[in-house]
Amino acid sequence: MAAIAPMMLCMHSSSPPFSVEASGLRKSFGKTVAIDDLAIECRAGQVTALLGPNGAGKSTFVRMVATLVRPDAGTLRVCGVDAVAHPSEVRRLIGLAGQSAAVEPALTGRENLIMVAKLFGHRKAAAIAAADSVLGEVGLSDDGGRLVREYSGGMRRRLDLAASLVGAPRVLLLDEPTTGLDPRTRLDLWDSVRSLVAAGTDVLLTTQYLEEADRLADRVVIIDHGRVIATGSPSELKSQAGRDVVVLTLARSDDRAAAEPVLRAIGTDEPRFDPIARALTVAVENGPDALSRVLAALAAERVGIDDITLRRPTLDEVFLTLTGAPR
């Protein structure tokens, strides 16, 4: 009875440094290349966000980690366990939620969780205890006895999240956990994910929302066409793509003709003009210095300005710079 399961080792001091480790991964569906020589390392103790447009290969990668899809080539390890050679061991280490998984509408929330807990390997009493515990964790204690078909979309997502947790997984895989949720519900779900991480679960999530990656992730991996195109912390990525951004608001739209050449001369890309806000935006090297040069040049040209700011690029701008295409 008291036999120590192999995975218990993974949960304590001998944890490998990476929760998910992939290299040279490839997967094609017919002629469509979904994953093309992908290499990703998710550090233990972190939230890793896979960010990319639709069809970038995010879900395929998560489904590989979840042992639902077998790679055509490459290696994939979860907590050090080879996911291709030992998928059933990997299944004991992971929990899957999001668009790749579902809950049963004709069961109550609690029944759903008890079922999944049993399928994780819990005995009946432990399954019930685990179900009640995670219901509390995602804030559904009062609704556990209601049928899921009566739940709102946000409640279903939280139940889905809870279902992936009843087996106390080492690595939580969230495939677009908040797609289609309203902003308020999204914030609630983010809170739930944050408290999970605080309680010691590694998270690999996919998202199309840059803000989600920015708010939740320690590390962001941007992928497109099945390849990694950038990786780093949100702030590293922002400084990697570079450059600070000068945004100035003209007092009069007519001054655009005079202001644009100034920005073009000092900036590192073509200035963009937003006619409604009368705002001109340009990327610059060495922000503070550039800012004072812009101000001096504008004064010399007698261009009136309402406002001028120097800011870091948003992840959106990073994403656009890296993928080279508007989404």
Binding site: A3, A5, M7, M11, A66, T67, L68, V69, R70, S88, E89, R91, R92, G95, L96, S100, A101, A102, V103, E104, A106, L107, E111, M115, V116, K118, L119, F120, G121, H122, R123, A126, A129, A130, S133, V134, G136, G139, S141, D142, L147, A163, L165, V166, G167, A168, P169, R170, L173, R184, L187, D188, W190, D191, R194, S195, A198, A199, G200, R215
Partner: protein, 279 residues
């Protein structure tokens, strides 16, 4: 809905009280869990069972009262001819085809596949639940049958064996339905595929004696599984000397029907498990 705060400050850290289970679930636990869920889904979605029952009752009544009078069944009252075959072939009218496709489409199967379960046991659980659903259809048929003139002549033992055979056939056909559901992949496609089994019922001895069919069709009708199953149940229910009507003894008919059922179950269980395991 306990969290109403929009704050982004660090949430309170709750101690994790759940521990990872020591071992993966057994095949039995897995099958029972999925079967339990599927049965509850049937019970809590009454339209599923009602549509199912109404369809089979409709077929029963149409054949009993509309076509029955025109079908010559060699002196056997048509209700006695029809009810055993409908009870035996219930698994071709109902089953998991749409439910399986829904589970595939919704991502429910993906969740199950991501769990450390013996995957074949998931399919077994489905078959167990669907066998109950199909048997329920047989029972409805028998009960309505009594109301429209069905009067079995066999002994209690013969009738019991007949019922057990119906359950066995239900299990066999449940696997065909599961396989079709997996192949369909979407509930809509499954709905269409569920009609693909109709020739099996109609080109059999279920509704009319095979002897009344065109000569080229008779060998097909005579040597297909539905005819074997229907004949076995019918021979038990009608009782008496079956050699005259079926050209074989009760025992032979029953064994042949069992062989078909086991064959169908094994074949489609194998195909279904392989399909479910594919990744």
């Amino acid at each position: 809905m306990s969290t109403t705060s929009l704050s982004t400050s660090a949430p309170t850290v709750r101690a994790r009280t759940i521990h990872a289970p020591e071992a993966a679930p057994t095949a039995l636990t897995t099958a029972a869990s999925y079967a339990g869920r599927t049965l509850r889904q049937y019970i809590r979605t009454p339209q599923l069972i009602i549509v199912n029952s109404v369809t089979s009752i409709m077929f029963l009544l149409i054949f009993r009262f509309v076509f029955g009078g025109a079908i010559n069944t060699n002196g056997i009252p048509y209700a006695n001819f029809l009810i055993p075959s409908l009870a035996a072939a219930s698994g071709l009218f109902a089953g998991g085809v749409v439910g399986v496709a829904e589970d595939a489409e919704s991502g429910f199967f993906d969740r199950l596949r991501s769990l450390p379960v013996p995957r074949a046991a998931i399919m077994l659980g489905r078959s167990m639940a669907d066998t109950v659903l199909i048997t329920w259809g047989s029972i409805v048929t028998i009960v309505v049958g009594f109301a429209v003139g069905f009067r079995p002549k066999g002994s209690v033992a013969e009738l019991l064996v007949a019922f057990v055979l119906c359950v066995l056939f239900a299990a066999a056909w449940s696997w065909l339905q599961i396989f079709l559901g997996l192949m369909a992949g979407t509930a809509q496609a499954a709905q269409g595929l569920s009609f693909s089994v109709f020739p099996l019922i109609f080109v059999s001895s279920a509704y009319v004696p095979v002897g009344s069919m065109p000569g080229w069709m008779q060998p097909i009708a005579r040597h297909q599984p539905v005819t074997s199953m229907v004949d076995a149940v019918r021979a038990l229910v009608i009782g008496g000397d079956t050699n005259a009507m079926f050209g074989a003894s009760q025992g032979f008919l029953v064994l042949k029907a069992i062989a078909w059922s086991v064959g169908i179950a094994l074949a489609f269980a194998g195909l279904s498990v392989r399909n479910f395991n594919r990744r």
